[in-house]
């Protein structure tokens, strides 16, 4: 039996407390009205050129006409969309702070100018108010989905009758014990979105839908009651599987035959079918609908690959931790080696989907699709391409070596980089549609991650301490104990 060390418990509580403080700070410092935004923008006139990037590269006033849809960005011409990234940084600086933007529209009459100015301020206000919400949302989504990835991996191991992994089943069950907690927090968050506490999902705002024909035609699918009912159904289904699967696994320990094992086999197969359907719809509902003007067919797979590899990485890290503190006597370097191979393989799978989505849209360059990547390349250049380096280049160079896959410190280092990289991946998916060019990885973002990390450690290791770390009567447990590669 594992006992939750008091050191780790204290660490998790400190992380949660720090996180809560930071989250609260983020909400308190968000601007309340457009007067505050005006002051912020006036202060920026002397300092940075953050505002400039957006205005020039997207063709000036057009960006502001699209306030209703938050981040509708119209490319000036198709040909320069790839190099626009560099343009956004270099050539813009001489141009267009807010003051100069007004000079451009000086030809218009005064009333129109005032209205446009107000519209601009409202736009920035929404982005700044979204920031602490979006920071919380990204962390919550990430910490909800990677336990789901672990659950899917666990179900696959059961159905595939894998001979190596049964010694790790209790670790996986421990990690998925976080799923109910994350689900509740996430569901409450979605309800808050529906009650108009924030502007994360613009299609939830009836004002926006009324003036946006594109979103209006999608309102048969994108409406709050249907959306929240789907979320309840998905979260409920996943948690039901998790609950019964863990319960059957414990019952199998005390049983005289393999009936609970067979039951788990069946419900795992059923869950995998349910999972792949709900996962796809979940990605449209919770991530793609943040940019409701945009759509991509392989998006569900792309999101899946991202949280699946994160889940496997977390299994490896938790196993390494437990192993190093003297538990898991039957887990040897061959088990760890297998997990590392999965980390390696699925990192490449993620890159394959990332690139397939990007390259297809880049190549065809259809205006209604390409805006998604233009906003990201222009405003999120470093996180957008940095995620590829962290999730692909780094793991492929480190984990390609067979000997490295057995060395603890190398795996921990690679695992941390992969997890950070996939957090940034989710950051890239959510932030451009919610805060636009107002993004920053600051107090709100870090604090949200710390809070969920603390809660995760607390819940997972409490759950691990509740049942023995080695399943007793699993039909494959002997093979797994002697697994050797």
């Amino acid at each position: 039996m594992y006992t939750f060390s008091s050191k780790l418990k204290n660490l998790s509580i400190i992380l949660m407390a720090l996180g809560l403080l930071g989250i609260g700070y983020g909400f308190l410092t968000a601007p309340k009205d457009i007067q505050e935004v005006e002051m912020i923008l006036a202060a920026e006139d002397h300092g940075g050129h953050g505002e400039a990037k957006n205005d020039v590269a997207t063709g000036g006033a057009e960006a502001h006409d699209a306030v209703d849809s938050h981040n509708e960005v119209v490319p000036a011409s198709g040909a320069d969309m790839a190099p626009a990234a560099e343009v956004g940084h270099n050539e813009v600086e001489s141009h267009s702070d807010v003051a100069e933007f007004h000079a451009v529209v000086a030809g218009h009459d005064v009333a129109k100018e005032a209205a446009e100015h107000e519209e601009h301020l409202t736009h920035v206000l929404h982005q700044l108010q979204n920031k602490p919400w979006a920071a919380f949302y990204v962390a919550c989504l990430f910490f909800l989905l990677f336990p789901l990835g672990v659950l899917a991996f666990y179900a696959i191991q059961q159905v595939a009758q894998a001979g190596w992994s049964p010694v790790l089943f209790r670790v996986m069950q421990g990690i998925t014990a976080f799923l109910p907690y994350a689900s509740v927090i996430f569901f409450v968050f979605l309800i808050l979105c529906g009650l108009h506490f924030n502007h994360l999902f613009i299609w939830l705002d009836p004002e926006v839908v009324a003036h946006d024909a594109l979103i209006a035609t999608k309102s048969g699918y994108l409406n709050f009651p249907f959306w929240i009912a789907r979320a309840a159904f998905f979260l409920g289904g996943w948690n039901l599987y998790r609950y019964y699967s863990a319960k059957n696994c414990l019952s199998q320990d005390e049983s005289n035959d393999d009936s609970f094992y067979k039951k788990n086999f069946n419900i795992s197969a059923g869950f995998l079918v349910f999972f792949i359907v709900t996962e796809s719809i979940m990605s449209w509902d919770w991530i793609m609908s943040i940019d409701p003007h945009w759509f991509s067919t392989l998006f569900g797979w792309y999101v899946l690959s991202s949280f699946f590899v994160s889940g496997i990485t977390v299994i490896a890290l938790v196993s390494l931790y437990l192993k190093s503190s003297g538990y898991l006597e039957h887990v040897n370097t061959s088990h760890i080696h297998d997990l590392a191979k999965f980390m390696f393989g699925f990192s490449i799978f993620w890159t394959y989907l990332w690139f397939s989505q990007f390259m297809l849209i880049w190549y065809a360059n259809i205006p209604e699709e390409i805006t998604y990547f233009i906003t990201r390349i222009e405003m999120y250049n470093l996180p957008f391409f940095g995620a590829v380096v962290m999730n692909f280049v780094f793991p492929i160079l480190i984990l390609i070596n067979t000997d490295f896959k057995r060395i603890t410190w190398i795996l921990v280092m690679a695992g941390v980089v992969i997890l950070a990289g996939h957090y940034i991946d989710f950051f890239n998916m959510v932030m451009p549609g919610t805060v636009g060019d107002r993004w920053f990885i600051g107090v709100s973002e870090v604090a949200s991650v710390l809070f969920f990390l603390g809660l995760f450690i607390y819940v997972v290791f409490t759950a691990l301490a509740k049942s023995p770390l080695l399943p007793k009567r699993n039909p494959y447990i002997e093979e797994s104990k002697h697994f050797h590669y």
Binding site: G78, A79, D80, A82, P83, F355, F358, M359, W362, Y363, N365, I400, T402
Partner: protein, 174 residues
């Protein structure tokens, strides 16, 4: 000096593995082991050095991606930078996504084929090569261990008899 070797023949891979371990423990030098199929762990039991073929393959892959990059940069960007359907050909990086499928395939192509050729060369395999088979049964269901004799013929024969060999032959090698 005569060039005598012992052929100890076994009909079970487990007995062969035990015999290999005993032979190494008795410090007899194993020249070669012939088996009809890969015996898991035999290389470790014989103390053979691990293969470096994977390292070769990695280097070949690097050569492949370099070649693909150089080729397309020269053709598409340097030599004749045409406007083809509005694709930007001002620099390599601007049009890189379009080149990635070729870069990937070239990497795999070089890594795979050059590694296979390396394997053939290192293993001395080619179409009209004379087969080096000491006993035809070793391609079917027998295992053969070859050990050099240094004036200790009787000792070796009785040693291999005791390791479970179904047949022990002393052969003059040319």
């Amino acid at each position: 000096m005569s060039n005598k070797v012992i052929y100890a023949i076994y009909n079970d891979d487990d007995i062969l593995m035990d015999a290999v371990r005993q032979t190494r423990a008795a410090h007899h030098h194993i020249e070669e082991v012939f088996t009809p199929f890969p015996v898991h762990g035999l290389d470790k039991a014989m103390g053979l050095a691990p293969t470096r073929l994977a390292i070769c393959s990695f280097i070949y892959g690097c050569i492949g991606i370099t070649f693909a990059t150089w080729m397309m940069n020269y053709i598409m960007i340097q030599d004749w930078p045409q406007d083809i359907g509005g694709k930007p050909s001002f620099s390599y990086i601007e049009n890189m996504p379009a080149f990635v499928p070729i870069m990937f395939e070239m990497t795999v192509f070089f890594a795979a084929h050059l590694m296979v050729i390396t394997f053939y060369m290192r293993s001395k395999l080619w179409p009209f090569k004379q087969a080096e088979n000491p006993d035809v049964r070793t391609t079917d269901d027998h295992f053969l261990m070859e050990v050099a004799v240094h004036n200790n013929e009787e000792e070796l024969v009785s040693f291999f008899k005791s390791t479970g060999a179904v047949e022990v032959k002393v052969i003059e090698k040319h």
